[in-house]
């Protein structure tokens, strides 16, 4: 069973601030609790299959110019740089 502390910890890691703490924690707990049904699926020995794509089938790794200057569309673009909040020391 997932605990309230674990949910609070993960919300910090995901950088999500919540006001109505209890409501969020209860619902998330309920949702994760439902996933416990996976324990009875009996898939422990199952291999995880992943689609395989040959490298030769991938797009060539080259720069594709874009017509617009996307950086200029950013909210905090300052002409020669993008202003970001300061990093904590």
């Amino acid at each position: 069973m997932v605990t309230q502390e674990e949910i609070e910890h993960v919300s910090k890691l995901m950088k999500i601030e919540i006001d109505d703490h209890r409501e969020y924690v209860d619902k998330v707990k309920k949702m994760i609790g439902y996933f416990d049904v996976l324990d009875s699926a009996g898939v422990e020995s199952e291999e995880i299959s992943m689609p395989e794509i040959q490298i030769s089938s991938l797009r060539e790794d080259r720069y594709i110019p874009f017509s617009d200057k996307l950086i200029e569309k950013l909210n905090h673009y300052k002409g020669t740089y993008v202003r970001a909040p300061k990093m904590s020391s």
Binding site: I16, A41, E46, I48
Partner: protein, 481 residues
């Protein structure tokens, strides 16, 4: 102007000179203006649509080459980018985001002279199945406005069902095209994974989501697929459609086809009226010469848990980009430390998105991945094996699209588990990459019921033929709006 026509009838009408694209699009916009305040399908409307339609009429009159859509008015789910238009994902986070490029599906439709009449509502970032999680308010079911239209492509289904456009594009991650199609009595098509490019679709769960058309008829869905399917160098997951013409031979019938009735999708929790409609659909297919037999897919019981585990994990990663520096709204950086700034910016996500991001951080994390995420991937693998085995015995699989009737707005919003279970019949096609379609089949208590057919990968043509056969067995009333 009769707006209640199919895409193919519209195209024929404009070609023959019996219908003016300009008049049709103008009447469509009038209808949106008249009824959309009540239905709330649209988040934005294209003010240039009539001018664009007029230019198509000119091309027709002057004998110039005209694209296959002939100015057909189409609505687009607001998580698909149209260059220089707002693409909000029904989120406050992207309320003012202007897309800098066209999605591949938009380019393809534009090249065929489609007219985009507007962007339509969805659950925020396509996370939901009722459109109630839109940051801009829910859409309403045109069959009864006290009921949800389904989701997450609810705006798409409402706009097609209520004659606010001829066709729409939605996206389907766990049933988000088929579920609202079923709830609003339209056709909803999820193609084989990779058949339609996702370039320009704002990512939610890349490994399973697909763009798909919502239309009035199965033939219209095939028509749309002919235009938008195929390889795209901007999406390495696309597969070659080999220029398949999905419309030709759509009336080939289903005599001798073997259809598996998925036992786990007609059992516990199914509404008796939905079950009765499903049995009726099976009888009708049998009367057309199909051979129907029950088949068991044991992993379906675990599919919803696997689906939410996988999609939340991918969403947690995909939504990390919304930090208010690359994407976001106008909110100053002055005076903030980096982490607290991002946390504050993310307050603009709605509650369901926040919940799924929290789950998406938890289920793949160290110490929990084995119990949740890896197990979900194993269920996905085993389910795919089961479905592949089933397709050795059967050409098609059948179930109701949704096991219940549309529900009242607000009825399930506080009960996440009961909402989860609405997805039980649709997520299998996404987890296994198979094509699936919802065909409108019945009306019970004034609310629509859709039947889902599924085929093996790349058997989209066969699937459309079967759907056409099923559609041909019934005549349904039109939406009462």
């Amino acid at each position: 102007m009769n707006l209640r026509i199919s895409a193919l009838d519209y195209v024929q009408g404009v070609k023959n000179g019996n219908v003016s694209a300009e008049d049709f699009v103008a009447s469509t916009l009038e209808r949106i203006s008249d009824i959309d305040e009540r239905l709330h399908a649209f988040l934005s409307v294209n003010d240039d649509a009539v001018d664009q339609a007029r230019s198509i009429d000119k091309k027709v009159k002057s004998g110039d080459k005209v694209g296959a859509c002939f100015g057909m008015p189409i609505s687009i789910k607001d998580n698909i980018c149209i260059k220089n238009s707002k693409t909000t994902c029904a989120s406050k986070m992207l309320e003012n985001f202007i897309a800098p490029y066209d999605a591949t599906v938009i380019t393809k439709l534009r090249n065929q002279d489609a007219v985009f009449v507007g962007k339509v509502n969805l659950d925020e970032f396509a996370m939901g199945l009722s459109t109630e999680f839109s940051a801009f308010g829910p859409s309403k079911n045109p069959w009864n406005t006290e009921y949800v239209p389904g989701g997450s492509s609810g705006g798409s289904a409402v706009s097609v069902s209520a004659f606010e456009c001829i066709a729409s594009l939605g996206s389907d991650t766990g049933g988000s095209v088929r579920n609202p199609a079923s709830f609003c009595s339209t056709v909803g098509y999820k193609p084989t994974y990779g058949l339609i490019s996702r370039y320009g679709l704002i990512s939610y769960a890349n490994s399973i989501e697909q763009i798909g058309p919502l239309t009035r008829t199965v033939k219209d869905a095939a028509f749309m697929l002919n235009i938008i399917a195929g390889l795209d160098e901007n999406d390495n997951t696309t597969v070659d459609s080999k220029n398949t013409d999905y419309l030709s031979g759509i009336d080939s019938g289903i005599e001798g086809k073997r259809i598996g009735i998925i036992k786990e999708m007609i059992g516990e929790g199914i509404d008796s009226r939905v079950l009765s409609a499903t049995k009726d659909a099976i009888s009708k297919l049998e009367s057309l010469g199909a051979i129907c037999e029950e088949v068991s897919l044991d992993m379906v019981k675990y599919s919803v848990a696997a689906y939410y585990t996988i999609t939340a994990t991918e969403a947690g990663s995909n939504l990390a980009r919304y930090d208010n520096i690359r994407y976001g709204y106008d909110f100053t950086v002055e005076g903030y430390e980096f982490n607290s700034y991002i946390s504050k910016a993310r307050r603009n996500f709605g509650p369901e998105v926040k919940r799924r991001m929290m789950i998406g951080g938890f289920v793949p994390s160290a110490g929990h991945a084995g119990k949740y995420f890896l197990k979900a991937l194993k269920v996905k693998s085993k389910l795919t094996k089961e479905v592949n085995e089933a397709f050795k015995r059967f050409d098609l699989l059948i179930s109701p699209t949704v096991p219940i009737l549309p529900f009242r707005i607000g009825e399930k919003i506080d009960d996440p588990i009961s909402l989860f279970l609405v997805d039980i019949n649709t997520v299998t096609a996404n987890l296994t990459g198979k094509p699936a379609i919802s065909v409108p089949f019945a009306i019970a208590n004034g609310l629509p019921i859709g039947i889902q057919l599924m085929a093996d990968s790349m058997n989209d043509k066969l699937l459309l033929q079967a759907a056409f056969a099923l559609e041909s067995t019934i005549t349904l009333p039109e939406v009462p709006t």
